[in-house]
């Protein structure tokens, strides 16, 4: 079973976390061993890391992209 790490702020509720885990398993068609990592610096959203494959949906990354776009 592959490991999937979900990094999110502490404000992410358990229900949302569980829905995420279930949704990922459904979309991938496989089971994962999920790990949760709390990181309030993300502000909101989450980051999913499946053995090096990263999907970043955090507010922090969006703000970073906005900062880069505005400074161009």
């Amino acid at each position: 079973m592959r490991t999937a790490i979900i990094t999110a702020p502490r404000g992410l509720s358990d229900a949302t976390y569980k829905a995420l885990c279930d949704g990922i398993e459904r979309a991938r068609g496989e089971s994962f061993a999920f790990q949760r990592v709390d990181d309030d610096a993300l502000l909101g959203g989450f980051v999913i890391n499946i053995e090096g494959e990263v999907q970043d949906r955090s507010i922090l990354s969006q703000l970073k992209r906005l900062r880069v776009h505005l400074s161009e």
Binding site: A8, P9, G11, L12, S13, A15, T16, A19, L20, G23, I24, R26, A27, D40, L43, G44, G45, F46, Q55, R57, I59, L60, L63, L66, R67, L70, S71
Partner: protein, 172 residues
């Protein structure tokens, strides 16, 4: 004194006349001709001297004309040299002035370009600073304002994008 002898008068007269004639011949031969010769020579010398003087006078006139022509030519050349020199000086001055103007224009253009570039850089830096400030403020506001509902919506959008959720399985 003997008395005047009339019978002898013609003979005396003849002798006198003969004496006079002989005297004339002698004077003519020994006095008149040399003197004439002397006078003629002197006249010739005088004429030759006059001719020589005329010749020299003519030569002097010719030389004077030549000198005046040379002088006029030299003066004309000198004027030409002065004019050429003046013209060259004016051309060089104009060239120096044109170079100076060109350099000044170039420096002005460079300065204007530099100013414009600095202005643009300043505006960019200011925009960058404003953007960074706006993002910082947004970050601080979002840190306070993000709710669980917002997190749930982000999760829904993520899962809908991966085609994992159906309409029944929305996040509460």
């Amino acid at each position: 004194m003997e008395g005047f002898d009339i019978a002898k008068l013609p003979l005396d007269l003849l002798i006198n006349l003969l004496n006079i004639f002989l005297l004339y011949l002698i004077v003519r031969r020994f006095v008149y001709k040399p003197v004439r010769k002397f006078l003629d020579a002197r006249t010739a010398r005088v004429a030759a001297a006059a001719a020589e003087a005329d010749k020299k006078s003519a030569e002097a006139g010719r030389l004077k004309s030549e000198y005046e022509a040379l002088l006029a030519d030299s003066q004309a050349r000198a004027r030409e040299v002065i004019l050429q020199g003046r013209k060259k000086a004016e051309e060089e001055a104009a060239a120096v002035l044109a170079d100076a103007r060109k350099e000044a224009d170039g420096q002005f253009r460079d300065a204007a370009e530099r100013i414009a570039a600095e202005h643009e850089a300043s505006v960019k830096a200011m925009n960058k600073e404003i953007a960074a400030l706006a993002v910082d403020i947004s970050e601080k506001l979002l840190a306070r304002e993000i709710t669980e509902r917002d997190n749930a919506r982000i999760a829904e959008e993520f899962l809908a994008g991966s085609g994992a959720l159906s309409a029944r399985e929305t996040v509460k």
